[in-house]
Symmetry: D2
Subunit: 136 residues, 4 copies
Amino acid sequence: MDTRIRDSFARQAFLQNLGAQITHLEKGCVQIEVPITPQLSQQQGFAHAGVAFSIGDSAAGYSALTMIDDGFEVVTSEMKIHLLAPAIGTHLRAKGGIIRAGRKLLVVEADVYALQADGSERHIAKLMGTMVPVPL
Amino acid sequence: MDTRIRDSFARQAFLQNLGAQITHLEKGCVQIEVPITPQLSQQQGFAHAGVAFSIGDSAAGYSALTMIDDGFEVVTSEMKIHLLAPAIGTHLRAKGGIIRAGRKLLVVEADVYALQADGSERHIAKLMGTMVPVPL
Amino acid sequence: MDTRIRDSFARQAFLQNLGAQITHLEKGCVQIEVPITPQLSQQQGFAHAGVAFSIGDSAAGYSALTMIDDGFEVVTSEMKIHLLAPAIGTHLRAKGGIIRAGRKLLVVEADVYALQADGSERHIAKLMGTMVPVPL
Amino acid sequence: MDTRIRDSFARQAFLQNLGAQITHLEKGCVQIEVPITPQLSQQQGFAHAGVAFSIGDSAAGYSALTMIDDGFEVVTSEMKIHLLAPAIGTHLRAKGGIIRAGRKLLVVEADVYALQADGSERHIAKLMGTMVPVPL
C-alpha cells in the first residue's frame, strides 16, 4: 500500500510544485502537508482556497486508495469544501478519512488545519465528497 | 469595476503562478484561463482537480465581485465541484456566473472547459457555491 | 420510458402523500409539481426545505432514469440544494436536467420554482448531485 | 433555549405530519426522530431520501438555533446530503452538530441513522451545510 501511494504521489507534479508531502499514511487515513509560502497566497495574503482544496482533496483521495484493491486508482467525482477560517500559519495540514467505502464509490472527508508557530492547529476547512475507483 | 478586479487579480500570487489570466469581464460573468502545462498535472498526467477548482472558484468569486459595492471583497464560504471529464487540452477556461445575488451572500456557479487544439471546448467541471461580501 | 417512470412514481408513497404529480416527461427532463398546502409548512409558514428537496431530487432522479437502460433504477448518491428564496405561492415546480450521463454515475441538476397566483415562476431552489444506476 | 426550540418545532406542520419528534436537545446538538412508516417510502419501499434530508436539515438547523441570540431564527442557505445506505429500520434518528458558529453564518452537520429492531444504529446519511441567522 505504502509504495503504491508514494509512487502515485511522486507523479503528482501539481502537488510537488506546491511543496506538498505525505506526512502520515495508514489504512483509511492519509495526511498531507504544505508550507504556506507567499507563492500560494490570494489577494488578502492568505493561502488561496485552491490550496486547501488541493491538499484536502488529495488527502481524501489517497485515504480512499488505501481501501481498494491493487490495480485500481481513484478519481474525484465531486467534492464540497467549506472554508472555516483564513489560512494563516506556517503550514497547511490535511487529514483524510473514509465515511463509507462502497464497491462502486467511496464517500470521503478531509479536515484542513493551519499550523501555528506555537504548534497548535487551527481548523480552516472541511471537505466531503465522492471518489470513484478506476482500473489502472 | 474593471480596475478593482484586475488589481485584486494581480495580487493573487497563487493564480499568477498557475499562469492564470482574466480573458473576459462583464457584470456577473468573469472568465479565467490557464495553460495546461506538465507542472499542473496529477498522477495520470491530466491537470489536477485543484487547478479546475482554483480557476472555477476564482471565476465565480470575481463574477460575484462585479455585483457588489466598492469597499467590499468577497470570500468563498463553500463550493462544490463536479469533475465531469479528464482535463486534457491546451488550456482550461472557467466561466463564472451568478445564481442569486443577495445582500449577505451570493450564490454563484462556474463551468470549466478544456480547450482542444481545434478550438472546441470540452465541459470538464461544474461548480456551485456561496460567496460572502466582507469590508475591505 | 413513460410507463416505467409513471409506474415507479406511483409506488412513491412519500411523494404521493405530498400531493406530487409528474407534469412533464421527456428524455433528460422530468418535471414534478406539488401544491403548497399548510401541511407542508415550516415554522415561518412557507413550504419546508424538505419539500423543495424531495421534489427537486425526484425530478433529477427521474430525468436520470430516462437516460438509462430498462432493467435499472437510479438511487441518489449525494445531492446539494441551495435555497434561494422563500417557498411562497400556489405550487412548487421542479424541473430536472442532466449535466453528464456516464455509465457508472450521472451528474444531474434541478431547478425549483414557486408558482405565483399570476402564473409567474419564482426561482426558489437549485440542486446538483449524483445518481447511480442499480439493477432492478 | 428549550422553550424557543420546542415552540418553533411545534409550528413545523411538515415535520409534525412526518411524525417527527425532538428526542434530545443540548447546546450545539439537537436530535430528531421519525418512525419509518409505509407513508414515507420511495419506489423500493425504503424511506425516501427526502425524509432523511428533512430531519437531518432540521436537526442541523435547531442545533444552530441553540448557538444564537434570542430574537433570531435560522434558515438553511445550502445543504449537501450523502446517502450511505438504504433507510430500512423502525425509526430514523438525525443528530445535528456545529462545525463552526460564525456571526453571519453557521456551518453545520447532521448524521442520520436507521434504528434496527435490536436497538442498533445504521449510519444512512451525512449532511453538511450552511445556516443563516435572520431576525424574527
